[in-house]
């Protein structure tokens, strides 16, 4: 029989495993198709051999192996998307399963039974690790299924080795989240620390070829161990051993810490004491908080403050890096444009770039990442998360009853919260835009400042559009309706629709309904000014937001 806590942990994760698994299978199939398309282009293979390796690594491409399916999948699937999926899943699982249970006081219940803390902790950790293993297994199996269909000639050993390495990478970051969590006792810290470290080490590992100062740290990054010695081609090696050892050490540290700690003291301490302590720590904070906590709008902004820094900082940093590597790329611009023309357009379309030639301009290059790929993903996640926390979750937690017990209209309260989310989105955009303006000046890319502002505005509006969608789904579906998940699906579908619509005539007409089309169109956002289509995003966001407010005003509030 499966031990109770382990069983519950797995049960709690099953939906997430299925959701992430579905996404990862779709990704594997999609990349299989892309590779087949690419392989059939002859110019392309000829060209690849003449390109400088450092240049390509900025795009996550290893020129030596890119032409084989294994190389292609290593580049796209295993260095970028798969770790993103798995780490998101695993960090979230670790933070929730162990740390959030402490935050919610549930750990008191669990530990009032005759089980040791060690057992509770290890069963939960094992549960998270096994759930991650299930997710990785989904990917591995789907690759093995896709292999004969697209004639990828992957080696079974290689696929298994890559899966193992990916799983170990996930376990390392789960363990990091647990260490951070048990050290601070807070789930926010668990997720925040592990997430930041994941981003940082991924960055170090991915950009060290281009950016020599990073090379010093390259060996310390789990992402470097993870790709060593390119498991998909070469099987497992010392890198995986390093990952396993690191995970074991971290889990041991976290377990020891968990055994010794006072549990959920934040709950035991009365509010008054906490505030005095905070006030002592950071003088004047209570006054500022008092100012910010005087209304639904301000409270929403206040609640989002850490996210604003986290997400804005991450995206801003990425933007700066893109500007900083541009000079290197520009020096090889000719080679690059050759590569671009040799690549099938589908490859670019799937990253939202319908005009591949634009990528050899600074505007196109920076846009391709900040405004067309990672930026939209992050900003949409930020907004949808904001709506979920400020509205959906408050309703399902019953906090709405209190928020609405004040003498202001329900519409007013909801609108104020939504505006709060929108405002904090604006703050993220301000951070990103500031980074772009600074990067533009520092590396003399000569972009038009107005267009930088316009691209930022478009990005923000794109986020708000999907925030509006989440609100509508929530308002009409109720608090238990998966509003955020539906938004994610719609976002992915319309993103693909835009990309594929630029290629196939059949989808060309349908493309105009994609919000991503309104934003990207056929030119990188940084290369154009404020487009009339941006108003469409704004109008959509406002219309959906208002519809949601109207609907909420009339429906029962869940208890």
């Amino acid at each position: 029989m499966i031990p109770a806590i382990l069983g519950k942990t797995l049960r709690d994760r099953r939906r997430a495993v299925m959701g992430f698994g579905l996404g990862i299978v779709a990704l594997a199939v999609w990349l299989g198709v892309m590779f087949t398309v690419m392989r059939e282009s002859d110019d392309f293979s000829e060209f690849m051999n003449n390109l400088p390796a450092g240049l390509l690594s900025a795009f996550g491409i290893d020129s030596a192996t890119f032409l084989s399916a294994a190389g292609f999948l290593s580049s796209y699937l295993f260095t970028l998307f798969a770790p993103l999926f798995v780490l998101f899943f695993v960090i979230n699982a670790a933070a929730n399963e162990v740390m959030a249970e402490e935050r919610d006081g549930l750990i008191d219940m669990v530990l009032s039974s005759p089980v040791t803390r060690t057992r509770v902790f290890l069963e939960k950790t094992a549960g998270v690790a096994l759930a991650a293993l299930a997710l990785v297994a989904v990917l591995t199996v789907s690759l093995l299924v896709v292999d004969p269909i697209f004639d990828l000639s992957l080696s079974v050993n290689g696929v298994l080795a890559a899966g193992l390495s990916l799983w170990l990478l996930g376990v390392v970051f789960a363990a990091l989240a647990l260490v951070a969590g048990t050290f601070t006792g807070r789930s926010v810290m668990a997720g925040g620390v592990a997430g930041s470290l994941a981003f940082l080490t991924w960055f170090v590992s991915g950009f060290s070829d281009l950016y020599p100062p990073l090379e010093t740290f390259d060996r310390a990054s789990p992402f470097t161990w993870y790709q060593e010695p390119d498991p998909l081609t070469n099987g497992i090696g010392p890198g995986q051993l390093w990952l396993a050892a690191t995970a074991a050490v971290l889990i041991t540290v976290a377990t020891l810490m968990f055994r010794r700690r006072d549990l959920s003291t934040e709950r035991t301490l009365p509010a008054a004491t906490r505030i005095t302590r905070l006030a002592r720590k950071r003088r004047g904070r209570s006054v500022r908080a008092a100012w910010l906590l005087t209304g639904s709008f301000r409270k929403t902004v206040w609640d989002r403050r850490r996210s604003v820094w986290g997400w804005g900082g991450g995206l801003g940093l990425l933007t700066l890096v893109l500007f900083s590597v541009w000079p290197t790329i520009a020096s090889d611009a000719e080679a690059l444009s050759g590569l671009i023309t040799s690549l099938p357009r589908e490859v670019f379309a799937m990253f939202g770039m319908s005009d591949p030639a634009a990528i050899v301009t600074p505007a196109g290059f920076v846009s391709s990442r900040t405004y067309q790929a990672i930026g939209p993903i992050l900003i949409i996640m930020f907004v949808v998360r904001g709506v979920s926390m400020a509205l959906v979750k408050e309703e399902s937690d019953g906090a709405f009853d209190l928020a609405l017990s004040v003498p202001s209209s329900r519409k007013g309260v909801i609108a104020a919260k939504a505006t709060g989310v929108a405002f904090s989105t604006g703050l993220v955009i301000v951070v990103v835009t500031a980074a772009a303006v600074f990067g533009n000046l520092a590396w003399e890319t000569d972009l038009d400042a107005g267009r930088i502002l316009a691209a930022g505005a478009g990005l923000g509006l794109l986020g708000l559009f999907f925030g509006g969608l989440t609100m509508v789904a929530w308002a009409f579906g109720g608090p238990s309706f998966p509003a955020a998940r539906i938004t994610a699906v719609v976002a992915m579908a319309t993103f693909l629709l835009n990309g594929l619509g630029s290629l196939t005539d059949a989808l060309e007409a349908a493309r105009v309904i994609s919000p991503f089309y309104w934003y990207f169109g056929d030119a990188p956002p940084l290369a154009k000014g404020f487009e009339p289509a941006y108003f469409l995003l704004l109008a959509g966001a406002l219309a959906m937001g208002s519809a949601a407010v109207m609907r909420i005003d009339r429906r029962d509030i869940a208890t």
Partner: protein, 304 residues
């Protein structure tokens, strides 16, 4: 035989905020012990120390002779706990929740659970998030009682229960005591404790102030006397008697209210020389006793 609960010098600081200070507590097997004090007095801190959720800053404790830190899992096998700030898994049904916890305990509790659910009129097949506050509390009660533990540690147990269910709960505790089991009942609400407790400990600002039986506390209280006179009297005459405090003088100086510690004889004698109409004695009110213990000092509150 070991005591049910025994602590010596048990102390917990949160940073430099005191939670509970130098607690010496002795709860005998088979008694219902009320642990009462205002919010933030240190009650929950004490309980969470006993269950090893918090590590003591100083001192030690034992439950059934087992060390609260070293032997905690063994202790928890013999204890039923109902937290004051009850948290449950919202997406489980009541039955799933109780099944999960009985599996953690490694025992089959189905029969007891069924009986208790019927007794407290709880539908176990609904999701916990659909339960009312009272029904959630019942799930907590069932979880604490389902394995028929030797010691029950209950933190504000009747919160959210309606009066009928509170009555049912009090009866349950009486039965538990009749079976020779022990109850440690923490509350800031006197009637909850008064109904069932054999002995009561009062805690305030992190310190255990006094432990006594309820009748012991009653006898410590000062009696109040109201004397109605036919004509106005001089209160100074009574105020000078030892142990007497004049509360007030009403009805144009004809109704005198006194509080008396100790013998009432000198007061009766003094009054009898005057134009007495009636003498009324007010029964000692337990609330007032405890309020006097809670005191008016509301300085820095230690943690609860």
């Amino acid at each position: 035989m070991s005591r049910a609960i025994e602590t010596s010098g048990l102390t917990k600081y949160y940073g430099d905020t005191p939670g509970i200070l130098d607690l010496d507590l002795a709860v005998e097997v088979g008694e219902v012990f009320g642990f009462i004090g205002p919010n933030g007095a240190g009650k929950t801190t004490t309980i969470r120390l006993l269950l090893d959720f918090l590590k003591p800053s100083a001192g030690s404790g034992s439950i059934f002779g087992l060390d609260i830190e070293r032997d905690s899992p063994a202790i928890r096998g013999r204890v039923g706990y109902l937290p004051g700030d009850l948290a449950l898994y919202p997406s489980m049904t009541g039955r799933e929740f109780l099944l999960y916890f009985s599996r953690l305990r490694g025992i089959d509790t189905a029969a007891v659970t069924k009986r208790l659910a019927e007794r407290f009129e709880l539908d176990l097949d609904r999701q916990i998030k659909e339960y009312s506050k009272g029904n959630r509390q019942k799930v907590g009660v069932l979880n604490a009682f389902m394995h028929e533990p030797e010691l029950l540690i209950l933190d504000e147990p009747t919160g959210g229960l309606d009066p009928l269910m509170q009555q049912e709960f009090a009866e349950l505790l009486t039965e538990v005591r009749a079976e020779g089991r022990t109850v440690f009942l923490s509350s800031h609400y006197l009637p909850e404790v008064e109904r069932v407790a054999d002995r009561v400990g009062i805690v305030r600002q992190g310190r255990l102030i006094d432990v006594d039986t309820l009748s012991g506390f009653r006898s410590k209280v000062q009696a109040n006397l109201s004397i109605k006179f036919g004509s106005p009297v001089d209160p100074a005459r009574f105020a000078s008697i030892e142990g007497v405090t004049v509360i007030d003088l009403l009805d144009g100086g004809t109704l005198l209210r006194l509080s008396i510690a100790g013998s009432q004889k000198p007061v009766i004698e003094a009054a009898s020389s005057l134009d007495v109409i009636t003498v009324t004695s007010e029964e000692a009110d337990l609330d007032e006793v405890f309020l006097s213990y809670y005191g008016s000092d509301t300085g820095a509150d230690p943690a609860g």
